[in-house]
């Protein structure tokens, strides 16, 4: 018995396409020839190696990796199903089709479960070309899917890295800008203090603009730092009692509340799984905005929460000036402002920080409002842990 195997093929095919290299595991030369003929008849330009034991099979795989393995189920010195072990060992993804005499249904199903792509009876070889086509097609799709998954994973990776770089850049830039800017601000203020009224009225105005600009830029940089800090410091999550953080927010806003005559109420708020400092900032920013953007009436602000699906949904509602729907998204962008600084102070960082915090804690934030008729800012925080979810199921 030759372990080098034999090569069969048809060189004079009228139809040169499609080319196919097959590796036959077959002890019967006549059966091998029949298989090749069946393929040639169907238009395959087939090159086939024929082997009948493990050693020859392995050698042939390494020498000329085939596109398909066609293996007899029973061989004198080997078993067709064991070709799968060799393919696995060699790290090859090559479809293996059993080409066999009578093979009971139970055995056939078992073989396919174990990794055979298909099985074709020797007295039904007409079905073989179609079986091979389908096997090759499936392999191609498998590879494409794998490629797409890999590309996606790589993109996600790149995106995460460039995001991290950007955070780092914003932090370093704003941190290092502070130092020289502090000097500009201090010395323009010193100039203004010492020379206002001693030069001419233009000089006074220029000094005023220069020091105002410097001070405003300082505030912007502080804001940018605060914004980038939300991403830099990993969220320290724990159980946060939203009643407590809301109360703390109200204390920080005490003077604004007093000045405006605001009435802020809140229902029973839940305990959520989030970063405490960040949640406190969200409540304070939203309530602060509700007071700041007030109408003619004294502000009436209400903070509520309810369970919606797998989330706690919070709302901070007010009777203020409201927001036209076309601005409902842009207000969450860094440094976006809808009003002149003289009308409503601020840099447009508060909502951007809220959005970043909420998204980092797994939730969403949006506004429901009409110009002139109050706003309701809503955000979600996912329910956390089996206890909370179980309770959800009971209620």
């Amino acid at each position: 018995m030759s372990s080098a195997g034999t090569q069969l093929g048809k060189q004079d095919s009228a139809k040169p396409e499609p080319k196919l290299r097959a590796l036959l595991v077959e002890d019967n030369a006549l059966d091998a020839a029949l298989v090749v003929r069946a393929l040639c008849k169907d238009g395959f330009d087939v090159t086939a190696d024929v082997v009948q034991d493990e050693a020859a099979f392995t050698r042939a795989l390494r020498a000329h990796p085939p596109e398909v393995v066609l293996a007899d189920y029973n061989l004198p010195n080997w078993k067709g199903m064991e070709t799968l072990d060799v393919l696995r060992r060699e790290g090859l993804d090559i479809p293996m089709i059993l080409v066999s005499g009578a093979l009971g249904d139970v055995t056939a199903v078992e073989c396919i479960k174990r990794g055979a792509t298909d099985y074709v009876l020797k007295d039904g070889l007409a079905r073989l070309p179609e079986s091979i086509r389908r096997a090759l097609q499936e392999k191609l799709q498998r590879q494409l899917r794998h490629q797409v998954e890999e590309d996606l994973a790589q993109k996600v990776d790149e995106l995460a890295r460039s995001n991290a770089d950007l955070e780092q850049f914003a932090y370093i830039a704003s941190h290092d800008l502070q130092e020289p800017l502090r000097m500009v601000a201090a010395y323009t203020q010193l100039l203004a203090e010492r020379y206002t009224g001693k030069l001419d009225e233009h000089a006074d105005k220029f000094l005023g603009y220069a020091s105002e600009g410097a001070v405003r830029m300082q505030v912007l940089i502080q804001d940018l730092l605060a914004f980038s800090r939300v991403g830099r410091n990993g969220a320290a999550r724990g159980n946060v009692d939203c009643n407590a953080v809301t109360e703390e927010g109200l204390q920080s806003l005490a003077s604004a509340i007093q000045e405006s005559g605001a009435v802020v109420t809140h229902g029973k708020l839940p305990v959520v799984w989030a970063d405490r400092t960040q949640m406190a900032q969200v409540f304070q920013n939203l309530i602060g905005n509700a007071i700041k953007f007030r109408g003619k009436e004294p502000p009436a602000v209400s903070v509520q929460a309810e369970k919606v699906d797998q989330h706690w949904q919070f709302s901070v509602s007010d009777n203020g000036i409201g927001i036209a729907p076309e601005f409902a998204e842009s207000i969450f962008v860094v440094f976006q402002r809808l009003h002149a600084r003289t009308e409503y102070p601020g840099n447009g960082i508060g909502l951007a920080i809220c959005k970043k915090i909420i998204e980092r804690n797994g939730g969403k934030i949006w506004v429901e409002s009409q110009a002139g008729s109050g706003s309701s800012f809503k955000f979600t925080i996912p329910l956390h842990g089996p206890d909370e979810k179980k309770e959800e199921e009971r209620t």
Binding site: Q178, L181, M183, A185, Q189, L190
Partner: protein, 145 residues
């Protein structure tokens, strides 16, 4: 007999030193103000080395953290390791508001940590407070004992 006060400012930014001088002038500080621009110079000054052989021993050091050659924390550590220098009160005066820097400063024996305010008025009042406390209320160790 009351000797003249000696203050050493360690800061690499002349503009900052200028602001501190301005602030001290305004609050009627009448002592000497010396300044050096990096950590190595600061140690030479304090240890009377090189061109500082005749330098006066400061009663108070205002020390920036971010310094060339030898940073403020290293200067602080070196001061606290010296038998005489360890008695000199050190006020850390830095832009940094990082809790890491603040904690480390106190660990190394800083007497006080003050963040440099960004705003001129606050800057002046910070310097004024430092001057009033250390040269007004606080009793300082006698020199050259």
């Amino acid at each position: 007999m009351k000797t003249e006060r000696e203050l050493l400012i360690v800061d690499d930014n002349p503009a900052d030193v200028g602001l501190a001088r301005e602030a001290l002038t305004r609050c009627a500080y009448s002592g000497q103000i010396r300044s050096v621009g990096d950590g190595v110079e600061a140690m030479a000054f304090l240890e009377h080395r090189g061109k500082y052989t005749n330098a006066a021993r400061p009663d108070l050091v205002i020390l920036d953290l971010n310094l060339p050659k030898k940073d403020g924390l290293a200067v602080l550590a070196a001061m606290r390791a010296g038998p005489d220098l360890r008695r000199i009160p050190v006020v850390i005066f830095s832009t940094s508001q990082l809790s890491r820097d603040i904690v480390r400063s106190y660990e190394l024996g800083a007497n006080c940590y003050v963040s440099k305010p960004g705003n001129l008025k606050d800057y002046f009042s910070a310097i004024k407070s430092i001057e009033e406390f250390w040269f007004g209320f606080a009793s300082l160790p006698q020199r050259g004992v």
